[in-house]
């Protein structure tokens, strides 16, 4: 296990370094002069020569390699620089924003898990009957509806029409429900199919036949025998979906006025706020790597076959 973790950590560090290089290059090679944008942002009529002053101030005149080394060195020390747009330290903004995104992803993951299990079980319990067809239909709709549209529907239905939940803000559980549901729809649809197919496969396995011969009922077999056996597959798929849910935050956070990392990243991109964009990309990449690591560990812990490979 320690050997596995150590190997994975080494891989992750190399991956992170390469990713930092790629994201830095992509960000700085984007067209447009950020100094002009900042000058515009700071005043309706900029002082003559002010753009050069801004460029000097934010170090745009330095060679790219120097800028990369400076940035990476500071980032390793936890200093992500100053946001050109707001004048605030990025490292001071990030923890608050990571908490907001964390709440979004965690809540959505729980809802997606519950919904997918419910839909998957509906299908598996009555295979090829009406509940299965309904479950499949819902999964198809959920997987093919764009998230921004789901969000707009949620707001229109639950906030504007019925006024049940707030349409914006991060003010406690009642304001979390709609964003959670919005993000959860797509992964729930995808995961429900994994549950359904996994259970179907499990139900044809020899151990299910053994369970049947012992006189166990269908419900008991599904819950006690089949479900534990699809856990590793489900965890793997959930891990991928959690990564995607973080990316979905870029759409959902601004929609619900949540000041998370997604919203921060989007505003950063819009204003070529290099420091913010680079920090967010690095955070996203780190998150993906950590989630993958956790998923692999969870699978390792729950699947004896894989555990045997590493022991």
């Amino acid at each position: 296990m320690i050997h596995f973790i150590s190997k994975r950590l080494k891989h992750s560090l190399v991956l992170l370094f390469m990713a930092s290089l790629v994201c830095f290059t992509l960000v700085v090679s984007a067209p447009g002069n950020v100094a002009v944008l900042i000058a515009e942002l700071r005043g309706a009529v900029a002082t003559p020569g002010y753009v050069e002053q801004v460029a000097e101030e934010i170090g745009l005149n330095k060679p790219l390699l120097v800028r990369y080394v400076d940035w990476l060195g500071d980032a390793v020390r936890g200093d992500f620089g100053i946001s050109y747009r707001t004048g605030q330290a990025v490292s001071a903004d990030l923890p608050k924003r990571m908490f907001v995104t964390g709440v979004l992803v965690a809540g959505s993951a729980v809802i997606a898990t519950l919904l997918s299990l419910l839909l998957g079980f509906l299908g598996a319990f009555w295979p090829y009957k009406l509940p299965d067809r309904v479950s499949r239909g819902l999964a198809l709709i959920g997987a093919s509806t764009p998230t921004f549209f789901v969000g707009a529907l949620m707001i229109y239905g639950f906030s504007v029409s019925f006024q049940l939940f707030p349409s914006f803000g991060f003010n406690g559980p009642e304001s979390w429900i709609l964003p959670w549901l919005t993000v959860a729809v797509l992964p729930a649809a995808v995961l429900s199919r994994i549950v359904r197919v996994g259970l179907e496969e499990a139900m044809t396995s020899p151990y299910v036949l053994t369970a049947k011969s012992k006189g166990l009922g269908r419900t008991a077999i599904l819950f006690r025998e089949a479900l534990p056996n699809i856990t590793p597959i489900f965890i793997n798929a959930l891990g991928t979906q959690v990564g995607l849910m973080t990316a979905t935050g870029i759409i959902v956070e601004p929609l619900f006025a949540w000041q998370g990392v997604g919203d921060y990243f989007l505003a950063g991109v819009r204003f070529r706020d290099f420091m913010v964009v680079q920090a967010c990309l690095l955070i996203f990449l780190t998150f993906f790597i950590v989630v993958n690591l956790i998923v692999d560990l969870a699978v390792l812990m729950t699947d004896p076959r894989i555990r045997r490979q590493w022991s």
Binding site: I155, V160, Q163, P166, P173, T302
Partner: protein, 525 residues
């Protein structure tokens, strides 16, 4: 380390169950509008509110910080912290009488000393040399508690207008800065005092020691909602009371129509910003010919753009500035589209044939650069123009770029046709004229609408140095030159759109896009 799969599932189920129970026990109820509180949407966090800084939302600064004089509707300069003013010495000396009985929100008295302290923070500093009053500043002398005299090396153009700007001219308490002189807290003399501010909202309470008419309600919350659709939904659901404004939380004509259809009160102000099309003869040889520029201008249906894109909320423009602004010059009706006349002009200019006209074997193809991020709706306007110009034999290629690239392209003149917005009140007319037309003024943010050092610069300089009784005539010569040469093509006067909940009564728009329109509101709770 190993974990039994059943134990794993049981532990996970227990955690989920607990979370669901927690959520179920939490009272889920829709929050009714807070009594006595006006809830305004803002598109981004208010930011650092230092009046001498450049990060914050102007309209939020306007809630707390007041100027010496206010910019009223139509450009009338009205008293605020100064009750009287007198220009002497050919405009080089300004004698101000300050309002008595004014205190900052921390109890500090506003007098000539605190006034001078504020002026010394920015006047005469390089950073603010784009303002004439700062560029030509010589000294500020305290006469007595309520009188102060400002002296300038040269008479500053539009001095009183400049003193009405939101920043850097407004006044903060001398106690609101740290020992190093750096801004710490937003404390002004205005009717609103900041209670709290973060990335999600800024909360203000009425300052009861305010010298003027106090707002009829006690609290104002500016809530950050970046997405325009979410702002509209929040207004419809009753969670906020006010959205709109050019710089506060913009509302598109389509959204305004939807709100109107849903029974939400929508307020349209004709606005004081003009959408102007620029020609770049330096890049497109064809545009050097005034006949071609006139043909393009004549070939555009401004009324259709105003109707189709702005859904009737905008007015077609025939001038650089609308009559809502002072010194806007003689007002002409917007040109009416005449495809036959436009074609005739192109024939006369030697561009013939079809479907794309050509001259000496070169087709009449022009590139228009648009950025919907910088100017909402620009892409659609460009497409309308593209279709209209096609009818008269001009092949218009649209290049859509993002905000950052637009800046670079406009600065480096990498366009044949492009869009500009004028600056709007209180910067007009000289803000736009100097910023976008004077070749000797380095504008490295917006680029230039049109420059002509030989013909245009002398007209601008003459207007800028004219005495008060002659400025109108001198400006008219500038406007006439633009018109006679078809140097630009003003398209529409961009409207300001606001929408409010039914609990908001007596709403009226502010004189400029930089002010918060809170003044006349009464809340029906």
């Amino acid at each position: 380390m190993s974990l039994n799969r059943r134990a794993f599932l049981q532990a996970s189920s227990a955690a989920v169950g607990l979370a669901v129970a927690q959520a179920a026990l939490t009272k889920i109820a829709y929050a009714e509008g807070a009594k006595g509180t006006l809830r305004v949407a803002i598109a981004k966090p208010a930011g650092n509110l230092d009046p001498q800084s450049h990060f914050a939302i102007w309209a939020i600064q306007d809630l707390m910080f007041e100027p010496l004089v206010k910019y009223g509707k139509g450009g009338k300069i009205e008293p605020c912290l100064a009750t009287d003013w007198k220009l002497e010495d050919g405009g080089k000396t300004l004698k101000l009488t300050l309002r008595q009985g004014v205190t900052f929100q921390d109890g500090t008295v506003f007098d000539a000393t605190s006034c001078k302290w504020n002026l010394d923070r920015w006047m005469g500093k390089d950073q603010f040399s784009w303002m004439n009053c700062s560029k030509y500043f010589q000294s500020a002398e305290v006469v007595d508690d309520n009188h102060i005299t400002l002296r300038f090396k040269e008479a500053p153009l539009a001095l009183m207008q400049e003193l009405s700007y939101t920043r850097p001219t407004r006044f903060l308490s001398p106690k609101s800065v740290g020992a190093d002189g750096k801004f710490v807290d937003p404390v002004g003399t205005g009717p609103w005092r900041q209670v709290s501010a973060d990335d999600t909202q800024s909360v203000f309470e009425r300052y009861d020691g305010y010298w003027g008419d106090k707002p009829s309600y006690e609290r104002l919350e500016a809530k950050v909602i970046p997405d325009p659709r979410s702002r509209v939904a929040a207004l419809r659901s009753g969670e906020i009371d006010l959205i709109g404004g050019f710089w506060v939380a913009g509302l598109t004509p389509v959204e305004a129509k939807q709100l109107d259809a849903a029974g939400v009160p929508v307020v349209i102000d004709p606005g004081n910003v003009t959408l102007v099309m620029a020609f770049n003869p330096d890049r497109a040889e064809a545009l050097k010919d005034p006949l071609v520029r006139k043909a393009i201008s004549t070939g555009i249906d401004r009324a259709a753009i105003a109707k189709a894109l702005y859904l009737g909320y905008a007015r077609p423009a025939g001038n650089l500035f609308s009559d809502a602004l002072p010194l806007a010059g003689k007002q002409y009706d917007a040109p009416v589209r005449d495809a036959a006349a436009a074609s005739a002009l192109l024939d006369k200019a030697g561009w013939t044939g079809g479907p794309v006209r050509s001259k000496e074997g070169k087709p009449l193809t022009l590139e228009m650069v648009v950025s919907p991020e910088a100017i909402p709706g620009a892409r659609v306007v460009a497409e309308v123009i593209q279709a209209e110009l096609k009818e008269i034999g001009i092949d218009l290629v649209i290049r859509s770029v993002d905000h950052a690239s637009k800046h670079t392209d406009m600065l480096e003149k990498k366009y044949d046709l492009g869009f500009f917005l004028t600056y709007g009140a209180p910067f007009e007319p000289f803000g736009t004229i100097v910023g976008l037309f004077l070749s000797t003024f380095k504008n490295d943010v917006e680029g230039k609408l049109v420059t002509d050092p030989v013909n245009l610069d002398p007209l601008i300089n003459a207007a800028a140095s004219a005495s008060e009784d002659k400025v109108e005539g001198e400006l008219q010569k500038f406007y006439d030159w633009l018109r006679d040469n078809d140097a630009i093509a003003p398209l529409i006067y961009v409207p300001t759109i606001w929408a409010h909940s039914k609990r908001v009564q007596g709403f009226s728009t502010a004189p400029t896009e930089y002010d918060m329109p809170y003044e006349n509101i009464v809340l029906a709770d």
